[in-house]
Amino acid sequence: MSAPEIVSPIATSADAHAAIAVTGLVVAYEHRTVLDHVQFSLPQGAMSAIVGPNGAGKSTLLKAILGLIKIERGSLSVFGKPFCPKASGVAYVPQRSSVDWDFPATVLDVVIMGRYGQMPWWRWPGANERRMALDALARVGLFDLAQRRISDLSGGQQQRVFLARALVQEARLYLLDEPFSGVDAASEAVMVGLLQEICQSGATVVAVHHDLSTVKRYFSHLLLLNRAVLACGPVHDTFTTAALQQAYGAYLLNVNEVP
């Protein structure tokens, strides 16, 4: 399958207003191509979903954007510049399983950790950081649990703690890796509301998402990925039966049957 022919309706040149712009990206693990000439851009201020079947390279794409893996070819930019950890304006929310929940810390401690990158290296967190963290906890609805040990929280609450940790970073771009997997309905509703609020205030949200039934309701933009880009653009243009069948295979029926 050669990618460039079916690339999105969106202009391929790196858009000046793009939050993320990727051109000609190739990533390979041990001679197996995971991402093949991926080319897209996601607009600022939008809430975009990265969707695709298992093994489509969604997490790999996030890691590539964050400069965590070696890329074979291509270029990546975040707000027009290559990603750099210092002063990046990017908050990353990892998959819940990727951290050590037995670590001895309270909910408040974890949220304060979101400020570490913005503080001088020798300074300890003080009253200011504490206040910001409590504000963020109130926004995700966990203010009352601030002094709980993190291992005592439910999966949904843990994910909300992560979102609060991202909030205190006051980022321009929020990258989330499957934020709603294994999360209860109440937590999911709180998080979606917050993410939409973030977008309205001008920041950008990009989430790897696997639940096709909620794509239309939650997101404004879509990047459909299966090793190559199958579609990219506003949800109502790109979330089509044809494109989804191309990504997931023919067994997927009509997109209109998806609520």
Binding site: L66, L68, Y92, P94, P104, A105, V110, W121, Q169
Partner: protein, 285 residues
């Protein structure tokens, strides 16, 4: 008994053991949280050939010992990494291969040297009673160094243990801190080797930190608790050892394990009695 407790040499050796214990507990807490207990075991065994090599080159010289220890400790870490990259060996097997080889090399050289300064049995369970005066200053210096470094790098140390990827993305010096911790571990082992021997060094690195880990729910309280436990366990152990006329290092290691087992037993019983998930830790706090 009474006159021993009044003797100044007893308090000098107790001070040495207590300070070494505190040093190990501080470094060991981060080792535990970063899941490097296995590596700590390996590195502390592997410093032996480095120390012996330094002894062969320049004689009994503390700085040379420290340098040799750091070099062979890092060599051990590098070798383990090499085996993991190039063979199918699992982490535990690779670690075991490297440290047992390096340790055996150290033992062969020590037994070949036949010197009064290094004795294979002393290497293993130390001679707290026959410590040299320099050992105390070395331990104090390293304890201060460890405390200062932890205060300065508390952020990357803690976030790097909880979520290393996040630490990197926030631009914290995660890799440097990791290497620094390994170097600190090697230095700590040298101090402990001279004061209390290898086995107690590992015991102090792991056991008080593990006990504090189950007793507390915040990193700062855990560090304080580990420190306190290490100090109390070593004082109790020293006094008991003098009273029973047995090896202090061995007794302190046994006491530390006893404390851990008691805490866990108490917690398990408390859970069973209350029938809830309420941890004993929350009673303590």
């Amino acid at each position: 008994m009474a006159d021993i407790l009044l003797a100044s040499w007893f308090w000098e050796s107790t001070a040495l053991v207590v300070i070494t214990a505190a040093l190990c507990a501080l470094v060991g807490s981060f080792i535990l949280l970063r899941k490097m207990s296995l590596l700590a075991d390996a590195v502390s065994h592997s410093v032996l050939p480095g120390v012996v090599g330094a002894y062969l080159l320049v004689g009994y010289h503390t700085v040379a010992f420290l340098l040799g220890a750091v070099m062979s400790g890092l060599l051990c870490v590098w070798c383990v990494g090499f085996l993991l990259r190039h063979t199918r060996l699992k982490e535990d097997a690779a670690t075991g291969v490297v440290f047992s080889s390096l340790f055996a090399l150290g033992i062969v050289s020590v037994s070949r040297l036949k010197t009064v300064d290094l004795d294979p049995a002393c290497v293993v369970f130390g001679e707290a009673m026959a410590a040299r005066p320099g050992s105390l200053w070395l331990a104090i210096g390293l304890l201060l160094l460890a405390a200062i470094l932890i205060a300065l790098f508390f952020k990357p140390l803690s976030l790097g243990s909880f979520d290393p990827l996040q630490a990197r993305l926030q631009g914290l010096p995660e890799r440097q801190v990791h290497t620094g911790l390994l170097v600190m571990l090697a230095l700590t082992t040298v101090a402990a080797l001279r004061a209390v021997g290898l086995v107690l060094a590992i015991a102090f690195l792991i056991t008080p930190a593990a006990t504090a880990f189950v007793l507390t729910r915040r990193l700062r309280t855990m560090l304080g608790c580990a420190l306190g436990l290490a100090v109390i366990e070593s004082v109790v152990g020293m006094v008991l050892a003098v009273w029973l006329n047995v090896s202090p290092s061995g007794l302190i290691a046994a006491v530390a394990l006893l404390v851990l087992i008691s805490v866990l037993t108490f917690q398990t019983l408390a859970q069973r009695v209350s029938g809830t998930k309420l941890k004993a830790a929350e009673f303590v706090q």
